[in-house]
């Protein structure tokens, strides 16, 4: 009998044991901070929620998004992998900053700035993108201060170009409440433009009309040097800051009239509104009021801890199959019995949110192929599948082989013994204990006598979903956006085959109003405006075949309309052994540029493009990828990308492409480069989901070094189910 009405849950049967966090607010704030949407919601995460894995102490940021005072930097370092977005504004100068602590001692920043009425190069309001690099030389000790050196706006026009070396010491006097942080340093360039005490060599300026993009090595640490200083007092949620600034704002106050600089001193007050959000108000240069908002996140510290519905525990066979006769293997000779076992298993997997693709049964062994559309962690999905097998398969089955599938391909095989499952579920350190007796192998081909799920194939899926399509850094408007609805459908008649398409209907947007672009190269990517003129489009329509040509090999062939700009033929082969950190791939595409109206027609431009790729998993979860080959404009060269990945789905990375196109022909920026960011939805909301926000930002979109976007590239889905990833998440097997 069930206990009468002891339910604490809401009508939807949601978790009744715990108050809900506030994922939506965090979601919106992230969208805001990553520029995905302009939803004006502040970030107010639930900081009353206790944290098991202690949250790191983090420094406050300055107007450049660097750890620092107000306009001047400090030597503090953010915790490893910290991801900080901030916006600051004063006197008509707005800076949007994105700072990432790439290594414990290195951080990189990307910044987008707007200066009103700057009138530089006759642009009126002036927009600029810049990159920073910062190194920690040493950490703070008992009596020794922390020291950092930084290169601000280190390449291209160098509007904000400045270098510094700075020291910071934290002091906690017993007589006073709170904590003081004293910083002092030397600045060059912009940071040495006021109150200089010495001059080191000659600092060259940026040549107007140059394409930019090159490192300003000849400028670094040259010219006037000036000492700056600042102090921060922090007590609880509040902080008070004061500094002596050495930025003369020559360009803004003397060469143009952006604001008036009356003083060298700046003052500010900051308030930590939530674990992630810090707000500040300031009085700068004796004349201007300034504000800032800083959002800091760390991939290792989700705003909402993951909550996964409890699994059904393993019931040892010794408790329910005591009769000797139950252990007979005879059942496996009967097709009817095997089909029954398959259906029971499919049902049990469904309860765990998994889909059975096929099962191969013998008297003592079972191989189950599963499709996982719910959990990001493949290990967790494998653990759930193992438990489902343990409670449905006849007792004689002792060896379990679980094959996670992706696009109809078996990506790896996790083999374990049923007795180990039964023995170890409640043992101390159960995750490590089980992993020690688990093998990861190549999935291999499906057995001829495999029983395929009759429910699954032919598989048909449809979705109607809204979409947003952003476009960045048009010279007149920094951010453009189209929104509308996608109608997508896919049909999979058999494993490995897939027909898919999407029809897109735009409702609103301003990408179509963008500036027409000019290029010395074929306009392979800059015709964005032309493609945005049409409201109803066939976004993609293609047929795909994936197969395993041999051990450790994966292959894909795709034909059709791949993306809004290109269609054609594409083939890819990937070599990636399950236990190897190295993967090698090759892709060859023949593509034609699609008509601007994005229906079935093509334009005149066609190209044979393809790449040889090497993927290497480095320590600290860095992923290095090198692609060498021919790009869309017919240019030949290579792309290098370095991405810091996390098992929870976070990815932070940067890439650059060098091809035989000259800087002059390439145009602004000289070569293609950018940053990529992926934030998993599950990390934000604390529920299992495989979705994520992905974002690629290029300072300038040009035509050199561009690749076609073919759906279903192999490496990503293959890597997630290979040994390194499975093993690192072994704790989740039993979750």
């Amino acid at each position: 009998m069930i206990f009468p009405i002891p339910t604490l849950s809401g009508p939807n049967g949601g978790p009744r044991f715990y108050p809900s966090a506030k994922p939506v607010r965090i979601l919106m704030a992230l969208m805001l901070s990553t520029g995905l949407s302009a939803l004006p919601q502040a970030l107010l995460a639930d900081e009353s929620t206790p944290r098991g894995f202690a949250w790191p102490e983090t420094p406050s940021l300055n107007f450049y998004g660097n750890p620092g005072v107000i306009d001047m930097p400090s030597a503090e370092t953010m915790p490893d992998a910290q991801f900080a977005t901030s916006v600051s504004s004063f006197g008509g100068i707005t800076r949007m900053n994105l700072q990432v602590q790439a290594l414990p001692w290195v951080s990189v920043a990307f910044r987008y700035t707007e200066t009103q009425d700057r009138n530089l190069f006759n642009f009126g309001d002036f927009y600029d993108r810049n990159f920073d690099l910062r190194f920690r030389l040493w950490q703070e000790g008992r009596s020794r201060p922390a020291v950092a050196v930084g290169l601000q706006d280190l390449a291209g026009t160098g509007i904000y170009g400045g270098e510094y070396i700075v020291a910071t010491k934290t002091i906690t006097p017993e007589a006073l409440p709170g904590q003081f942080k004293l910083s002092a340093g030397l600045g060059w360039g912009r940071l040495g433009s006021s109150g200089a005490v010495a001059t080191l060599g000659n600092r060259s300026g940026f040549t107007p009309g140059d394409t930019g993009g090159e490192l300003g090595v000849d400028r670094w640490f040259r010219g006037d040097v000036a000492p700056f200083a600042g102090i921060e007092w922090r007590h609880g949620r509040w902080g008070v800051k004061a500094e002596y600034s050495t930025d003369a704002y020559t360009q803004e106050t003397q060469q143009s009239n952006v604001f008036e600089r009356k003083s060298d001193f700046n003052f500010g007050v900051e308030y930590q509104a939530s674990r992630q959000l810090r707000l500040g108000a300031y009085y700068l240069y004796g004349s201007e009021i300034g504000v800032s908002a800083q959002i800091q996140m760390n991939p290792r510290h989700p705003p909402t801890t993951m909550q996964v519905s409890a699994p059904t525990p393993v019931v040892p066979r010794s408790t329910w199959a005591q009769d000797e006769a139950l252990w007979s293997e005879a059942w496996a000779d009967s097709r009817g019995a095997r089909v029954k076992a398959r259906d029971l298993l499919a049902e049990a997997l469904k309860q765990e949110g998994l889909i059975l693709e096929s099962v191969t049964l013998t008297g003592t062994r079972a191989e189950v192929r599963i499709r996982n559309t719910r959990y990001r962690s493949v290990t967790l999905a494998v653990g759930r599948a193992a438990r489902a097998m343990s409670r449905t398969l006849p007792p004689s089955v002792e060896t379990f082989r679980i094959v996670p599938m992706s696009g109809g391909l078996g990506v790896s095989a996790v083999e374990l013994r049923r007795s180990d499952l039964e023995a170890l579920e409640f043992s101390p350190q159960a995750g490590d204990a089980l992993w020690a007796v688990t093998a990861v192998q190549d999935a291999g081909p499906v057995a001829a006598d495999a029983l395929w799920s009759e429910e699954l194939y032919p598989a048909f899926a449809t979705a109607i979903s809204p979409y947003t399509s952003p476009s960045y850094f048009d010279p007149s408007v920094p951010f453009r956006l189209d929104v509308g609805v996608d109608l997508t459908a896919s049909y999979s008649p058999a494993p490995g085959w897939r027909f898919a398409g999407a029809i897109r209907q735009r409702f609103l947007g301003n990408i179509a109003d963008g500036r027409a672009s000019s290029s010395r190269l074929p306009q392979v990517r800059t015709a964005v405006r032309e493609y945005a003129q049409f409201g109803t489009t066939l976004n993609r329509l293609y047929a795909e075949r994936r197969w395993r040509p041999g051990q450790n090999l994966y292959a894909r062939a795709t034909v059709g309309y791949f993306e809004n700009m290109y269609g054609g033929l594409s083939g890819e082969v990937l070599w990636k052994p399950v236990n190897s950190r190295l993967g090698l791939g090759a892709e060859l595409n023949y593509v034609r540029q699609r008509d601007f109206d994005q229906r079935l027609g093509f334009r005149d431009y066609d190209v044979l493009t393809g790449h040889a790729s090497a993927y290497l998993e480095l320590p600290k979860n860095y992923l290095m990828q090198v692609d060498a080959g021919r790009y869309l404009a017919g240019d030949i060269g290579a792309t290098v990308s370095l991405t810091r990945t996390f098992n929870n789905g976070w990815r932070l990375g940067g890439f650059f492409t060098l091809t035989d196109v000259s800087a002059e022909d390439f145009g602004e920026g000289s070569f293609d480069k950018g940053i990529t960011l992926t934030v998993p939805l599950g990390w934000l909301i604390g529920k299992p989901t495989r979705n994520a926000y992905g974002l690629t930002i290029r300072p300038v979109q040009r035509d050199g070094g561009q690749r076609v976007h073919v759906p279903g590239r192999l490496y990503g889905s293959v890597r997630a189910a290979h040994r390194k990833s499975l093993e690192e998440q072994r704790a989740r097997f039993w979750e």
Binding site: F3, S9, G10, F17, V24, F53, S427, S490, N648, E735
Partner: protein
Amino acid sequence: MRRGRMNGRMRALGVVAMLSLMAACARGPEETPLEIEMGQIIRDQIRQRRGKAAAPQPPVLTRALLETIEAPHIEVVIEKTDLRDYVTLQLARRDDSPGRIEVWRTVDNITFGFRDGMLISIRGLRGSLLSAEVPADGQGAMGPASGGQRSYDFAGDDNGSYRVQLACELRDLGPEPLDIVEITYATRHLQEYCTGPEGGVILNDYWVDSRSGRLWQSRQWAGPEVGYIRTRQVVI
């Protein structure tokens, strides 16, 4: 004029966005698109907020009520959030280590695992206790058999786990009559006094029946995220 048009446009944008989030749907064995999942989350939030006021209250326990119930139940209270629930036995078994394992489950699929009454697992709550080493001797009486080192593994870090190790001292606080819904049991109050590596103190309290060795009531630490939980055996 222009402003009016802009406002109208923004409003239209908002309406379209809301409508498409609401109307969005997906079917079939493929991953749900991000936008649809977001719509679901927003809808759930709204529903939860509305449902909060009408949330059912836990029953007031009387012996007469408990007499009508046959299946074993324990009461679990999470102190930090002051939430109470009555859970049923999902699994009882033994493995190679001493002590009887019991898994108790709520209707909405949260489970608590115990070995001889000592918490060894939590699933379905934020902050899973993945596994724990407990001083069970399997000699009859439930509760801790000795002091020594305790070790817990919690879900955390980057899809991994972290371990908390405590040094515990077992204290016998003597006989204590324990009242559970109008019945008084003769129990012995045992306490684990545990210190963490950074000097924090964790207390686990157990009220064990003086004759049968059954654990009637406990207050145990369930990790930094969940905090302390209290259990009471209300129906055997």
